[in-house]
Amino acid sequence: MDSKKYQPVIGLEVHVELKTKSKMFCGCSADYFGQKPNTHTCPVCLGLPGALPVPNKKAIEWCVMIGMALNCEIPLFSKFDRKNYFYPDLAKGYQISQYDQPFCLKGSIKLSNGKTIGITRVHMEEDTAKLIHQFGTQNSKLKTQNDEGYSLIDFNRSGVPLVEIVTEPNFETAEEVKEYLRKLHQLVRALGVSNADMEKGDMRLEPNISLKREGQIDLPSYKVEVKNINSFNFVGKAIEFEIKRQAEILDKGEKPTQETRGFNEAKNSTVSQRSKEEAHDYRYFPEPDIPPFRWNQEYLDKLRASMPKLTEEKQQELINKYNINPVSAATIVYNPDLYRTFASTASIGQEAFGTAYEVTANMLINKKLPYIEVSSEELAKNIANLTKVSNIDDNKLEKIIDEVILENEKAVEDYKNGKETVIMFLIGLVMKKAQQKLDAQMVKEKIIQKLK
């Protein structure tokens, strides 16, 4: 078997559960994890006769924000639709979802290898109840056909807001998929809309995998969906298994069946569940109980402005403004307390005490000082004291400066091309090499002299 002659075509469907206070269409608490069964229900989420849905404003805002963060178009008109099918965990016999006019369309996200992954759509829907399968009297799989089996249903989860994010089939490797998932995970947490805790089922993944021949332009004529994957790691394993399995089938000259498969953790393999050929006819039609949505540009602009900044944006900002190195920037951004205090501490440090930004960053990161519940002024003062300017032998300094200039060709070049702020960066490096705090002004003049 030579999998090299096939190219994987992978798409991903992710469901993210929002951490709103109430459910999508009713006021029941959405915090269902670990609660006693059927204690968070009402006529609406229990699907009782006469109940009607009223959409959660915050949930919709958050869905649109996720779309904006994924560079989606936000159509000015959208609506909810009914997706009709029967299953015991679906109280109404239909799920309120979005079909042809979702909140967000046509977005994109860039991976570290430069590739752009297309986001087909981001839409809102409601979660189903939780099914617990017990066979006989033990929590085990069905033993024989004659075992008295039953399933149990808990409607606490029924109606919790879900955002569905669908990508174009642009992925080619399991690694790419994992990177996308990590980015998505970070993104929803940075936005503050979901805990995205995979163990709690806040984030559910469904890759679809098919293979095309190297050079084939058309998409493959089949695709296999894999469900029931509980971690990023397992996604990778599932994808790898599928690629291998499908290649083997194609090698034989056959076509893999279009179907849905389940992931078996114990064996790191996928197992056939039901044929996707027998596709559900969902009989979508516009939800008559919920009037449609019409945004205006002003509303969308306001929403966008209210979004918390995303991780990458924040990192870049730090790098641009304070000239600290990317590793420091990343570390600071990932720690909310540190992030909160750094900007003001660094500014005060520089203005009042001449402390280089990089020095402030280092001191905070390496935990030389506690920074929680300490004011920025105090912190800056402490840092200055600890890194007092000390004297240095002229020759030693010259040598250090020369080394720094040699080791940082690009920075020097930037400076020579007019980017004056680079000087601060070089000063920081000099001090770092010298392992002592020096008179920043003096060092600056020396460097400038050398670069003339």
Binding site: P43, L48, P49, L52, K92, F155, D281, R283, Y284, F285
Partner: protein
Amino acid sequence: MNLNTLTITQAKEGLKEKKFSSVELTKACLERIKNVEPKINAFVTVSEKEAIEQADKADKLASQGETLQDKPLLGIPFSVKDNFCTKGMRTTASSKVLDDFIPPYDATVVAKLKEAGMVILGKTNLDAWAHGSSTETSDYGTTKNPWNIKHLPGGSSGGAAASIAADEAIAAIGSETAGSIRQPSDWCGVVGLKPTYGRVSRYGVVAMASSLDSPGPITKRVEDAALILNILAGKDTYDATTSPKPVDDYLATIKNNIQGIKIGIADEYFDDITEQVRKKVLEAIKVIEKMGVKIIKIKLFPPKYTIAVYTILQRAEVSSNLARYDGIRFGNDRSFFADEAKRRIMLGTYALSAGYYDQYYNKAQKVRTVIVNDFNKAFKEVDVILAPTNPWTALPLGASKDNPMYGEMADALVEPSSIAGLPGINVPCGLSNIGLPVGFQLIGPQFSESLILNIAYQYEQTTQWHKLKPKL
């Protein structure tokens, strides 16, 4: 005096003046129910014990100084159509699927009426799931028309209308999707008001067609209907399709002079009706004309086309709304559905299924727009439209059996206004040559309930029809 024959206004006055108590009033109704129910079968559930308890409570509140200002329906006995969820009280929608369903919550309409002090006598019969215009498709036997028990009361709110015609209750609550309030009110000779879609909350009403269902009052007098609407109308946070428009005081304008109001008459609505209906409605028009209104001939979209639109829209929404009845969380499983429900579910499912959506459902929604525009055009020329409510008077028992399009064809004259979400009121205007009631309807633009109630009231008070009672 037979207290059960009183209207709301008369009952309120009597209670205020302490001529009788609510318990006496309620007992009078319960007595009447006991006497006539074997002939009429208007009720699915009679809640005698609860009703007397509620009446007793009402009397106590009244004696403590609770004025009828705060609770405008204090101690007044009502019948409630059995598709409204009543907390702790069996609600079946006249289907064996819900034979033992006891809702853990009240419909908004019920909660509002309870807050206003109403006493519930029981739940009235309907076509199962409100699927019909005869009440014959109820799983609990058909209701008979009090004017002639060999005839149908109409439907789907047949039990409600019959309970008023037979003086079993002082007032009733029904619901209309396309005719279900107006038509049985017509056949039973009582007042029936279908408000604008979105004027009254649907929360807690067993859904039939979500984009059409409208709860409303069925009463002995126009004034009573106005009073009830005052209580029911308004935005409900539990129903996203209710309008935030401020609610009129419908009683305040009911006695206004109706001179100069432009009333539209369309020949299309008089095309396929019986002679008896034509005669009585034309007479009514003459009476109204004498009151100084202007009768103007208009052209309207032929009602017969709306039958197809309504059939598709309603069955499609029905097929989805009945999907929740799987016997898991409540009620019995789907094998308990009777024929009519099964037929409608299947046609609806088919109309929405892959490949047929555009041809049926989407097309019907487009024709809906055409109908809405047609009415908008008409209302530029006239203020309200007057027409017969139903092409014929109450049909004999058995008329609806195994006729799959029975209801839709019978409701041709009310379907257009329902599809457009407009308000309509049925007003009795006489008896046929064999003693069956005839009524006419007034249809107004959206949120024009004040106007149609006003005209209806003036006509009613100028005539004697509202004083007629069937001999039971």
